[in-house]
Symmetry: C2
Subunit: 380 residues, 2 copies
């Protein structure tokens, strides 16, 4: 027997009600039964997105909705602005490039957040920029961007503001309408406590103005077709029915909890995790923009970061994430997103302490767990 | 209580083992546990596709894989040949159009199959055609195309042969390699007895020759990226993990059954359905190319086809499909695809008899059920 504990920033663990809802006999998607479910989830997503605009459900990974945002807003030869301070921020420019769209790129050091003034400068220098593509929580570095500040800048520009909130939505605050976000993109397997396979996106009136004037190189990800279907509470193509049913269950749980309580819980888990890491003498990757959805920690000198993650997983059943691309082996990431509670974080820290000890790292055993306990006690 | 019976051509009913497999705790996709599952399903798909080539798993509806085939084989300004004799055949040209690819279209009367000679003529007239796009089983009309004959023609041409086997694969014979099919596309919610959300495609060496020389307008559906990932038994983007796990279960069942037995079962169910319809005095839409995956039946004069389907579903819990587009209200479709057995077909015919009687259609009550029973008895 090997009991497993999942602390990765997507997929995140699923509540049992959500898991079991997938095992119900399948129903056809063009029936009143499904239409009712679909209507409920589309309305429920608006609450999570904090928007009055339509929320679309696509059957794809989150990247599919990112592509939908890019190709519906811009065409070959157009220019867009992208911000990249990690693997997922880089994806915006990669998608643009695949379609012959010019991407002006703001490079940010991995572990740092973009300075909104950089965006302001670029937008002023080139008023023809069709859209600005940013990331709420950069999963690869555990950094949160100040979307509210960027929103104030974008409001005065022609460009639409697009936010990749794949990691983050339903975990940390994302006021789509209040912050002036035109397209907010998300995925199912993070804060929404679902398996991967669904992507979501909200689209503002300003975004539609640009989309309507653009000849999108898109079929499966064509938002005009999606809108035509959504107006009848339908999807343009066969949706992932079981995942939509699971979404209904997850939204029910989130509605009961309330967004504020959800954000407070994530904050508490994040503070406990960060405090614990410091108590173990470990250094966080991000000092002043650390995300409350996932914590990125530098691997201490002399320790093999990949072996650390592998041992925790293969030996003790605790799956955390390693570093990606240029951070491979240099950081590890503990997620506190979705269906995760205090004792799950304690379990993760405890296992980390065990393996770090075995690998020869020197610290006071139990110091991380105790530091987290103290944070949790203060929250009572 | 209303017990439900699903006889639609996608989604099709799911075996309980497949349903329940989705309810297992989620695992991370970049782990040895998932890699093992993914390896198994990629190998298992080759058996179903009857191919030695790589089989790709995409997280999307079947349309996503259709788009992947089009945009990876051809670019703006290129010419492709498409065959359309129904709603899904039309999709090939629609996708091409969205990307500025010229589609030469062979129009076939709905309910008929294309004459392979038409394709031969077109290919000879224009040797620059990049690919021919056809449909194994046109779900909207219940017609099967002679892919084997088309394959012989395509073998001698530059063009790649692409087959939409979304409805059909795992239900009727589809010899991808032996028939010379370069890209075979399928979906999860038909013969493979899964929920919708996954698309599959095999890609031949000849197809790769064209793909490698093409600058695809694609990111999420870029096959070169998919190939790079597949070589490490990985996916380019987060896959729909629970559906991949369900696929493993479905393939296990199919392996146990054996392809030949599966095809024989579908054939038996189709013959019984067609015989029953004739016994009720009903006319089949397709006379000489009727599919063994789904049967399309003309609604008899004086009967409201939409009301018939609606009453069977809302009053008696039996969901069959109506007609689409130009066939709306004019036909109904009974699927005998996937996890469907003799008694499910009997249930569907019985309910049809009941509602037809209530709607005033004159026939000998029980004649359809008896005709099907006779076919089933002969099979023993």
């Amino acid at each position: 027997m090997k009991k497993k504990y999942l602390l990765t920033p997507g997929p995140t663990p699923l509540p049992p009600e959500v898991l079991l809802s997938q095992a119900q006999p399948i129903i056809h998607h063009r029936t009143p039964d499904f239409q009712e479910i679909f209507k409920e989830v589309c309305e429920g997503l608006k609450v999570i997105f904090q928007t009055a605009n339509d929320c679309f459900v696509l059957t794809s990974s989150g990247t599919g909705a990112m592509e939908a945002a890019v190709v519906n807003l811009a065409s070959k030869g157009d220019t867009v602005l992208t911000v990249q301070g990690g693997k997922f921020g880089e994806r915006w420019a990669e998608i643009a490039k695949a379609y012959g769209i010019n991407a002006e790129v703001i490079d940010v050091e991995w572990g740092q957040a973009v300075d909104p003034k950089e965006i302001e400068k670029k937008l002023k220098a080139n008023p023809k920029i069709k859209a600005v593509f940013t990331t709420l929580c950069e999963t690869s570095t555990g950094v949160t961007t100040d979307i509210q500040a960027i929103g104030k800048i974008a409001k005065g520009a022609q460009a639409a503001l697009v936010v990749d909130a794949i990691s983050g939505l339903g975990a940390i605050d994302m006021k789509t309408d209040a912050w002036g976000v035109d397209i907010c993109v998300s995925g199912s397997q993070k804060g929404l406590m679902l398996p991967p396979g669904l992507a979501f996106m909200s689209v503002s009136k300003k975004a539609w103005g640009i989309i309507d004037g653009n000849k999108a190189a898109a079929y499966y990800f064509n938002l005009k077709a999606a809108k035509k279907a959504l107006d009848k509470f339908d999807t343009a193509f066969t949706p992932a029915i079981t995942l939509v049913i699971a979404l209904k269950e997850a939204l029910k749980i989130m509605r009961k909890d309330g967004l504020e309580n959800i954000f407070t819980r994530h904050k508490r888990l994040a503070v406990a995790t960060r405090t614990a890491m410091k108590a173990l003498g470990l250094e966080l990757l991000s000092v002043d923009a650390a995300s409350d959805a996932v914590t990125a920690v530098r691997v201490p000198e002399g320790i093999d970061g990949e072996k650390l993650v592998k041992t925790m997983r293969d030996q003790y059943g605790v799956t955390i994430a390693g570093g990606q691309a240029q951070l491979k082996g240099k950081i590890f990431r503990i997620a506190h997103m979705g269906f995760i509670e205090e004792l799950d974080i304690i379990a993760g820290i405890c296992c980390l302490e065990k393996v770090l000890t075995q690998m020869g790292y020197k610290f006071e055993l139990g110091a991380g767990v105790r530091a987290a306990e103290e944070v949790f006690l203060q929250g009572e």
